[in-house]
Symmetry: C2
């Protein structure tokens, strides 16, 4: 008998009817001979309703009380889902984060899970119960209610799966899997059967919003196989796991193409090429809590260097002002920037053992006269920054060049 | 520094504005030099909204999950009230029933409080916090969430006051105190400064809906002085406490007049006057879960007796049917009943030491030609049953006869 953890998000439990639908999906899994733990989010709209109440009192409410407030959203869902499962003739038992002893630190609204006491859940499973757990919440050492921050329900599901050594952690969403790229840009993008944790992390962090990064990291750390599935349609979804030697992963060189239009590019030219210059430029940026993504430094011929980096687009103005000040201090030649860029990345573990990926990429873009502004590489990805207006053209051309399209049925 | 427990019901916290009003009342009490624990109910309407969700799934939802669901109502209020108190510059900390360790049995939806762990609350009070506690809820030995049943927030407040030996437990309501009788019937009814627990129990159980009986019983058992106050208007309210010898209670013979139109009367006549007859008549009624209030048996001259009792009006038809069957079995003469009666009671500890109360009562009713159908007495009350249509006439006449009116200011 296998133990499966399933997670359903707010949209999947948005109405009483949808909750009953989830109950039936859960029961179907049990009737296939599995034990099931279900992790659920608040009904869609509920969290916003609660936040609105808080904002009427205080725009910046006390974090401890904010967590007490919003954690009621999931508590409503676990009760209703348990009732629905029981109505359909199965045993169910609900648990809040505190009851299942999801211990977190006390960073309210963005707590991290430290430990889970699985004994009680294990006993209830053995007694034939379907366990329904409130996602997104936990309890700190002092018994204070905490919430886990965005995507926290995914993290709860993975943590439960890790603690109870579940066979699989299934994340039900509004898409039927992870695609080679965004199907809105490339209509014949293909659903991947499998992808590795590392690839998924690159895909997720680069704009593919199917799974939360923290949940993927967590699953990778504890080796919990993750599966992304559609919450109402049947299908195998996409399995995210380790690239075990014994297993046959798909042998594609490239698994997918991610792109991110949320970044902006800043350049400072003509700064003295001396030790510590990177810190002098990026230090003030970091102190202002601006996160930097890509960083490129060119060595100049005249003892000067150019320095380019990207930040989140919402931080662009702030970063530009800081950089102007730094420029004056360093006596740099010029500061420039551009907020209308896109970062496009090829992702794939197959890249490790294949040469020529980069040159195929650059040639493909050149063939369409797309100018590359920045390049950055890692072991399993190559990213380029180009003008935002080329997004669709570039992604479609690369998708075709690397043979990622859905093939007609044989 | 005195410790005060305050309780605000659903109507008093029905909107964000009202919650802010409660925050200010609480802060005013603290600024008078007190420590305060506030117990709150769910915002009015919220509990019904949650029950409606449950009913959409199952008309008779699992009790454990029902309690998980409805207990979220108070959790929302404690968070919002704590935020409001902090906005106004004071320290606050919220606690769910489970967090403050309100241990109950596991009779879901009508659990009883077994114990409260006061150490943590005491420490938070000493650190200068206003403590905000979710009413109506607790946790059983196994950590399951329980709720206390109707009026449970009053009970939570009294239990907190008892556990922490508070100086006073203040129940804020939509009336400014306990009155000599219902002011809608007798416009010049007078607010009582003080009333004993015993009197309050009689007043409460006889239809004066200001306080829940269980909370009054609980307060009496632990000697917690209770005060009923208006939630938005200022005023001293009514203090409910023991009639201590040293204290001067009001020296009125009668404290108040309660009346109850929720009962119905049933009579069985011509039953054999033999041992065990009362059980034969009332046994089947009790087995059908019908509660009996007043019971009167007259001794007849012919070896037969008449037997009259009252039940809640909603149980009238059910009781009548059972009584018809009993009548056939016993060979009784007749079964009759009347659902349009009222029970009017004079309540007062002063009655103990004063003769002539009953005769004044009967004469007053006779002067207005009101026929008395049943009489029942206890140490601190005299109840009569009369035709319901005489309610206002009888209550007003008695109110005047016993000199209970509000006196013009001296």
């Amino acid at each position: 008998m296998a133990l499966i953890v399933q997670k359903y998000g707010g949209t999947s439990v948005g109405t009483v009817e949808k909750i009953e639908g989830v109950a039936q999906k859960v029961i179907a899994t049990v009737e296939q001979g599995n034990q099931v733990i279900v992790v659920v989010s608040a009904m869609s709209g509920e969290t916003n309703r609660l936040i609105e109440l808080a904002k009427q009192i205080d725009d910046c409410p006390a974090p401890r009380e904010y967590d007490v407030l919003v954690s009621t959203g999931e508590q409503v869902t676990i009760a209703l889902l348990s009732m629905a499962i029981m109505k359909f003739g199965h045993k169910a038992k609900s648990y809040t984060g505190a009851q299942v002893n999801i211990r977190t630190d006390n960073a309210y609204s963005k707590a991290r899970i430290i430990d889970i006491d699985e004994a009680r859940v294990r006993a209830d499973l053995e007694a034939g119960n379907i366990i329904v757990v409130a996602g997104f919440q936990g309890m700190d050492e002092q018994g204070n209610i905490t919430t886990l921050g965005r995507g926290g329900s995914d993290t709860t599901a993975v943590a439960m799966a890790a603690a109870l050594k579940a066979e699989e952690c299934q994340i039900y969403t509004d898409v039927d899997g992870v695609y080679t790229t965004d199907p809105r840009v490339v209509p014949n993008a293909r659903r991947l059967e499998k992808i590795t944790f590392e690839e998924m992390l690159e895909m997720a962090s680069l704009g593919s919003k199917v799974l939360q990064i923290r949940a993927v990291e967590f699953a990778g750390k504890y080796g919990v196989p993750l599966r992304v599935l559609h919450s109402t349609e049947d299908g195998p979804g996409t399995l995210i796991s380790y690239d075990n030697e014994g297993e046959t992963m798909e042998d594609a060189v490239i698994s997918g193409i991610a792109f991110n239009r949320d970044e902006a590019e800043l350049t400072i030219t003509g700064v003295p090429d001396q030790p510590g210059i990177a810190y002098q430029i990026l230090g003030p940026i970091g102190e202002a809590n601006v996160e930097v993504d890509m960083i490129i430094q060119n060595v100049g011929a005249d003892g000067c260097t150019d320095f380019t980096f990207t930040v989140h687009r919402t931080d662009y103005q702030k970063a530009l002002e800081i950089l102007e000040k730094t420029s004056q201090k360093l006596g740099a030649r010029e500061v420039s920037g551009d907020a209308t860029i896109v970062k496009i990345s090829l992702v794939g573990v197959g890249m490790r053992s294949h040469a020529g990926i980069a040159s195929t990429m650059f040639k493909t873009l050149a063939d369409d006269s797309i100018n590359i502004r920045m390049i950055s590489t890692s072991e399993i990805k190559i990213s380029v920054v180009v003008d935002e207006k080329y997004t669709e053209l570039a992604v479609r051309a690369l998708h075709k060049a690397f043979d990622l399209e859905e093939k007609p049925a044989a």
